[in-house]
Symmetry: none
Subunit: 116 residues, 2 copies
């Protein structure tokens, strides 16, 4: 019952194994050097670029989101973001129309400041 969470390294390594591809085959397909792929599968890379994760995801046919998550990258969610602290304090909770008006006002302030 080991629910050991997979690391990015092990996940990518096993995914390649399942696909039955060699490092150099992956290199040929993705343009990512086999040396780098080896390092990646040995956990020596902390945060690979999303671009590369995407290439590997489509090649291995695994969800891109999972690689992103395992890499520690924030995943773009359709759900809205929580209210930001400092800005929230500045503008409080407002309707969308009020927010638009406030944005205009802030732009005006900034513009005037620049004019000086």
């Amino acid at each position: 019952m080991t629910k050991a969470k997979p690391t990015l390294a092990t996940f990518v390594s096993q995914a390649r194994g399942n696909a039955g591809l060699t490092l150099r085959a992956v290199e040929k397909e993705t343009g990512i050097s086999n040396a780098y792929l080896s390092q990646l599968e040995h956990g020596k890379i902390q945060t690979p670029a999303p671009q590369n994760l995407h290439k590997l995801a489509s090649l291995y046919r695994v969800p891109y989101e999972i690689l992103m998550q395992l890499a520690g990258h924030p995943i773009p969610r359709p759900s809205s973001d929580p209210p930001p602290q400092s800005v929230a304090a500045r503008i409080g909770s407002v309707t969308r129309d009020e927010e638009d008006a406030l944005v205009e006002y802030l732009q005006f302030l900034r513009q005037r400041k620049k004019g000086r």
Copy 2:
């Protein structure tokens, strides 16, 4: 009425303007150095880390996805092809770790669908 397609630099710069924040205020909130923010707003940074884009997105109250897109990072396709059938076809031979990851992914999908 010509809506010029914004670069990441201009977008982030204007977003900060709209929020009425200084570079150092953003630094204080996000932990990203003001020097780097300045470079970012002048187009001297090509692909900022998603982690940093996420911080800026929530602070400026702009969609994270937009920043990702402007930065050239691949974004997960909304719901067009959530479960890759190639993996499903292979499920009989996946490892336990991969199975766990798949379960996580399905939970993520359900939650997202529920979210909005």
